[in-house]
């Protein structure tokens, strides 16, 4: 995400403008996480969904009980 885009989002969702130094600090964090998750998500199996997590916990429980 470019700094200008970041600032546009900040301006649209926050009532108070975000300071430049603050944007610089957050930008690196957000871009790093965005890139990591985007790349990992490209390898997700077709049909994956958030509820798979709960199903996995339950299946582990029943498998071991």
């Amino acid at each position: 995400m470019k700094k200008e885009t970041f600032r546009d989002i900040a301006d649209s969702v926050l009532a108070v403008p975000m300071e430049d130094e603050r944007i610089d600090r957050l930008l690196a964090t957000v871009n790093r996480a965005n890139d990591a998750v985007r790349k990992a998500a490209e390898k997700l199996p077709i049909g994956a969904q958030p509820s798979d997590f709960f199903a996995l916990l339950e299946s582990e429980r029943t498998r071991r009980s």
């Binding site: 009532a15 998750v37 958030p50 916990l57």
Partner: protein, 476 residues
């Protein structure tokens, strides 16, 4: 029974003494109230005390016992809890300026279950602002102080729960954990803290931070107390539809009584990277104890923890920014800067990125179970990899230095919430400066009985839990 002897009793011992008529609930409750009022301010672990209501409840408990009626396994036992558990009609601060006058519209299911088991609510305990700090940082209520050395942090966010149990002010307390908030104060204050499997305990009536990872659990001086508390608070709840319908065992009975053959994996890579020699020595000694009682210790590896770090960050911050969005817009200056800074990134991820992060959860957990656990029953990790920092070390030096310290303190805890696995922090020694050191045990899904049993057997052959800070004994 003397006041100091009363304070020394564990939660189960307190319950047993009340049930047998060796002490009254009124005496136990009075003792807890006195200590909360005298020692509590020194540690700054108390937000509100409910003296009149607690004493009235204690007298009712004693009258019921005199008639042979015991409500449950905590009949007449006084307890305090993290001040983000709702109680209908009562102010619940969540440690924040913004919600300082918030009157809860409902009561947390976990508190209803404790009350049904006979427990008495005595005090609302300190926490980090909106449960948002692994060090326990709170600018609005001031720092909660470590009972072992008041210049040091308690860990957070369940700061008051950890400090109050360690200082023998309450026999046990509930906390909540989204990235280490039970396990860090337990590790840093020298008590036991259990984070159950995600879905095991209801979060209804608990101020949320991140719905996908918030977990409520017990903190006490020993694993057996945690086992009893978990048996009471766990189980399906129609008010929290994410809760599992799996049967809840009696964890005190379900705990293994022998660790012979228990397979313990030690993931040295990543988890031990920042461990200091002093902490490492205590951890190695705890592994020797496990080996001596029959456990089989093997080194193991972990998947790409950097990826898990980023994924859990997106989930937590998107959900936190949703919870706090209205206040980030309308009252940004009423957040401490540490808290605001940690929450704002959640405003900048797209919805699809957040959902991708949630979609990644199942495959990442499956990979972690296969790679880190393999054939192991549990994993053994550091609680906190570095010596307990001072309050000054976590609040000065600028945003980058503070962020680095926050990441270091939570290095061994925050990923586990994303994985949804149960974990327990157990004290295993002290640094040269007299601050606690702890290990964590991580279990498979719904493996709480194994974790509690392993912690209980460890505590049976070590004496760390018997040590009390000087402030608890009146020596400070």
């Amino acid at each position: 029974m003397t006041a100091s002897r009363l304070a020394d009793l564990s939660m189960i011992e307190t319950a047993a003494a009340i049930a047998k008529g060796e002490i009254t609930s009124e005496a136990a409750t009075r003792s807890v109230l006195d200590r909360l009022k005298t020692i509590g301010p020194k540690v700054n672990c108390v937000i509100a005390i409910e003296e009149d209501e607690a004493m009235a409840a204690a007298r009712v408990a004693d009258a019921e016992r005199a008639k042979g009626q015991l409500r449950g396994p905590l009949h007449g036992v006084p307890m305090g809890h993290k001040d983000l558990l709702f109680r209908k009609g009562k102010v619940v601060t969540s440690g924040a300026k913004i919600t300082r006058g918030f009157v809860a519209p409902t009561t947390a299911t976990v508190l209803e279950r404790l009350e049904a088991a006979g427990a008495i609510y005595v005090a609302a305990l300190h926490l980090a602002e909106f449960a948002r700090s692994p060090t326990g940082h709170n600018e609005h209520f001031g720092p909660c102080r470590n009972p072992w050395n008041l210049d040091h942090v308690t860990g957070g966010s369940s700061s008051g729960s950890g400090a109050a149990v360690a200082a023998r002010l309450v026999p046990a307390a509930l906390g909540s954990d989204t990235g280490g908030s039970i396990r860090l104060p337990a590790s840093i204050c020298g008590v036991v803290g259990l984070m159950p499997t995600q879905t095991r305990v209801s979060r209804a009536g608990v101020m949320p931070l991140s719905w996908s990872m918030d977990t409520v659990g017990p903190m006490a001086r020993d694993a057996r107390d945690c086992a009893r508390l978990l048996s009471i608070i766990a189980g399906a709840d129609p008010r929290d539809l994410t809760t599992s319908h799996a049967p809840v065992p009696d964890y005190e009975k379900a705990m293994p009584t022998s660790l012979k053959g228990l397979r313990v994996g030690v993931p040295r890579r990543f988890y031990y990277d920042p461990v200091t020699p002093e902490v490492g020595k205590a951890l190695d000694e705890s592994l020797r104890v496990f080996r001596d009682v029959g456990a089989v210790i093997t080194d193991t590896d972990v998947p790409d923890m950097a990826l898990i770090d980023e994924v859990q960050h997106i989930v937590r911050e998107c959900e936190a920014a949703t919870v706090h969005g209205r206040w980030l817009r309308s009252r940004p200056k009423d957040f401490a800067d540490q808290v605001r800074s940690r929450t704002e990134p959640g405003l900048f991820y797209t919805a699809t990125r957040y959902l991708e992060a949630l979609d990644l959860r199942a495959p990442i957990v499956a990979e972690f179970l296969a790679k880190a656990f393999g054939d192991n029953d549990i994993l053994h990790l550091p609680g906190v990899p570095i010596p307990v920092p001072t309050i000054a070390e976590t609040t000065t030096g600028g945003p980058e230095a503070i962020a680095k310290m926050i990441r270091l303190v939570g290095h061994c805890t925050r990923h586990i919430n994303f994985l949804g696995l149960p974990a327990i922090a157990v004290p295993c020694g002290f640094s040269a400066s007299g601050l606690p050191i702890a290990f964590q045990l991580i279990g498979r899904p719904f493996g709480e009985a194994t974790l509690l049993g392993a912690a209980d057997r460890y505590q049976a052959v070590t004496d760390w839990r018997r040590r009390a800070p000087a402030i608890a004994t009146g020596a400070a």
